[in-house]
């Protein structure tokens, strides 16, 4: 009897074990179009030409980063095939290139597509095709909408959350301020403005002047002149680098001395503060989530050391003072992390699942104590920022890490 029991126990154990392992053996390797045993195809669009071609650097940085990963063994033994196209910042072109990526090149995911208009154009298509639109390069708030667009996820802190941080700061530090705002007349500027107004809530009366400008204007000097005449003592600059620099310079030239807040997009030392003149930039406030390549305080930071070593070997002609380079590195590192987490299940659904499952992930280039967190109801990977003040030739971080989370 005993041997029979043992034999049947052994049989049942074997059966169960077999079932269990064959279950996971069946779950061993799963692929969607774009992934195979040897490669993962990652699609990408960014303006390499046209008026926004300055952002093309992001694509080049990411390409170099993936090359580095490939040379160090790839992701779980697979090489990344990075297919990047130019959309010239034109939505119809973006649609064409993304359709090419999905239908002709057959990529697994569309990674870090840039620009709010381009991304709005491709969002519905990608979601209906169930292709991940991952780590969108735009700070618009609408990429955090897992209920309606489960395949779309942002990366950087949204413009509105950054603006709210400034609003909170002003209400606390300068409750009687007279605020003048200059904003770029596009989705970036308008989104920010909304965030500022929402953040000020009942105290939007603090805003005494709003000036918009177009990117086609050669110089925004006359807007500054107009704003000074309003007698404001706080100036908020919702601008891209060129115009931010022009504003800083003009403000100094006409002898206006408001408290200046500049958006994170234009807080780059190399692209803005230096051309505008360090002496003109003293005391300017902003907020950051990533380390600045120009800042010597990070010289011994292990993350930055890795970043600089990467640049030296794989992208030596890069300008490390350019915020786009730091950005490209950080977001590429996040993508690699997600793909690693997928293991051998490289289906698009699993990629999204892992992307929505990042816990306290810290890319090399983010500020200390700022981490990436996502969940199935929270598609905003980075939500924290720290305020900083420009002093001497660099930014001085101060205060706590603030979460710009929107409590909708």
């Amino acid at each position: 009897m005993r041997s029979a029991t043992i034999r049947s126990a052994a049989f049942w154990t074997a059966l169960v074990t077999f079932a269990a392992t064959s279950g996971s053996a069946l779950a061993q390797k799963k692929y969607d179009t774009g992934a195979t045993d040897t490669e993962i195809k990652v699609g990408h669009i960014v303006p390499y030409s046209g008026p926004a071609s300055a952002y093309g650097i992001i694509g080049k940085t990411e390409e170099a980063y993936f090359k580095m990963i490939n040379e160090n063994g790839g992701i779980n033994g697979r090489k990344i095939n990075f297919v990047s196209y130019d959309d010239a910042y034109s939505p119809p072109k973006a649609v064409e290139q993304v359709r090419k990526l999905v239908e002709s090149d057959e990529v697994l995911v569309v990674f870090n597509p840039l620009g709010t208009p381009s991304n709005t154009a491709i969002q519905k298509y990608l979601n209906s095709r169930k292709v991940p639109q991952l780590f969108v390069a735009s700070g618009a708030t609408k990429w955090n909408d897992p209920k309606n667009f489960p395949w779309t996820m942002g990366w950087q802190p949204s413009y509105q959350s950054e603006a709210r941080i400034y609003a909170k700061f002003l209400m606390k530090e300068k409750p009687n301020a007279k605020i003048a705002i200059m904003y770029q007349n596009d989705d970036f500027g308008k989104d920010y403005l909304k965030g500022l107004k929402d953040g000020l809530g009942a105290k939007t009366s603090m805003i005494i002047a709003e000036e918009s400008y177009e990117t086609s204007e050669p110089t925004i000097d006359n807007h500054i002149v107009k704003l000074k005449a309003t007698g404001a003592d706080v100036f908020i600059s919702i601008t891209t680098p060129k115009f931010a620099a022009q504003a800083i310079k003009k403000i100094a030239e006409i002898g206006w001395q408001p408290m200046q807040i500049v958006s994170n997009v234009s807080a780059s030392v190399g692209s803005v503060m230096k051309p505008a003149g360090f002496e003109n930039s003293q005391g300017i406030l902003s907020a950051a989530y990533a380390k600045d390549g120009a800042d010597p305080q990070w010289d011994n930071d292990p993350g930055m050391k890795k970043f600089l070593a990467f640049l030296e070997k794989y992208y030596p002609e890069a300008n490390k003072l350019d915020g786009s380079v730091v950005y490209g590195y950080g977001v590429a590192q996040t993508m690699v992390k997600v793909l690693q987490m997928c293991g051998d299940d490289l289906t698009r659904a699993n990629v999204m699942k892992q992307a929505a499952n990042l816990k306290d992930f810290a890319p090399d280039t983010l500020l200390p104590d700022i981490t990436i967190n996502t969940s199935p109801t929270d598609y905003a990977p980075i939500e924290q920022l720290q305020m900083m003040r420009f002093k001497g030739e660099k930014w001085d971080l101060f205060g706590d890490i603030i979460s710009g989370e929107l409590s909708n």
Binding site: S53, S216, N222, K242, E253
Partner: protein
């Protein structure tokens, strides 16, 4: 009232930029009877060359003069190599050529010098001019140089044989050839001069707008508009046109409620079109009489 004065002054300051560019536009128009879309990009490229020289240690005025010479030569070279073969082609094909040149110059500049903005020095300094905080010494210098260029151009076209020959070659090429003018080289000369003037414009504008490959895009539109407003046959008109456009644009932006700020450029252009409908040759241009 103070706001008005401020805006007028600021408008004059910006207008100096447009006036500079407009002079280059008029120059090329005098030579070839057409507007060269690539003018702005060529000016930008010249400015980058001067910047690069200064990076290598050449002092400002040395770089300035060298760049002028190089731009002059470059303009002639481009005309001889790229546009002389197109001389017999229809005009629209030539315009396509200008557009192609624009694309090439812009792209190459972006590759060589990338798109981060660069500071560009000014020989005039940046302190307030005559105590006014609205116009800096640089902007005053810009206006001065523009006026000087204008006078030089005027003297050239009115009182030198070469200038006269160029005007003849542009307006009546057949007759000009009959009196022995080498019209082909007149065109090349015109390109060279326009290129040099464009370089001056670029080097004056860069300190204000910051140097980067896309810096001239917006300026060129205004330059065209100013030149057309003033009359394409009149350098003085170009300069006056530039200042008028700058001032009008600012006033429209300040005083037209609601849309004034967002529609500054369209309103300025609408003004110009209105002027053209009334005075088809521009404010100071000579009326063109067409005969069958």
């Amino acid at each position: 009232m103070e706001l008005f004065t401020n805006q007028v002054l600021a408008g004059i300051a910006t207008g100096a930029i447009y006036a500079c560019m407009a002079l280059a536009v008029v120059m090329i128009y005098q030579a070839i009877d057409h507007l060269n879309f690539a003018q702005g990009e060529m000016a930008m490229f010249s400015t980058f060359i001067s910047w690069q020289m200064m990076q290598w240690g050449v002092p400002y005025w040395g770089a300035f003069v060298l760049t002028l010479a190089l731009s002059f030569a470059g303009g002639i070279a481009i005309e001889r190599l790229l546009f002389k073969p197109l001389a017999k082609a229809p005009i629209l094909t030539n315009v396509a050529g200008f557009i192609a040149l624009f694309a090439i110059v812009n792209s190459v500049a972006g590759l060589i010098w990338d798109f981060t903005i660069k500071q560009y020095p000014t020989p005039f300094g940046s302190s307030p001019f005559l105590g006014s905080q609205l116009i800096s010494t640089h902007q005053a210098g810009m206006i001065g140089v523009t006026v000087l260029l204008l006078i030089l151009l005027f003297l050239f076209f009115q009182y030198t044989r070469m200038g006269l020959a160029m005007r003849a070659a542009a307006s009546l090429p057949e007759s000009a050839r009959l009196v022995g003018i080498n019209t082909s080289w007149m065109i090349a000369l015109g390109w060279g001069m326009a290129s040099a003037i464009g370089a001056i414009a670029g080097m004056l504008i860069a300190p204000v707008v910051f140097l980067e490959p896309n810096m001239m895009g917006g300026v060129l539109i205004y330059g065209f508009a100013a030149a057309v407003l003033g009359g394409l046959s009149s350098p003085l008109g170009a300069v006056v046109g530039g200042f008028l456009v700058g001032v009008f644009e600012n006033l429209a932006g300040t005083y037209i409620p609601g849309v004034g700020n967002e529609l500054k450029l369209p309103i300025a252009l609408a003004l110009i079109i209105t002027v053209l409908v009334v005075k088809p040759a521009g404010l100071l241009g000579r009326p063109i009489v067409k005969r069958v």
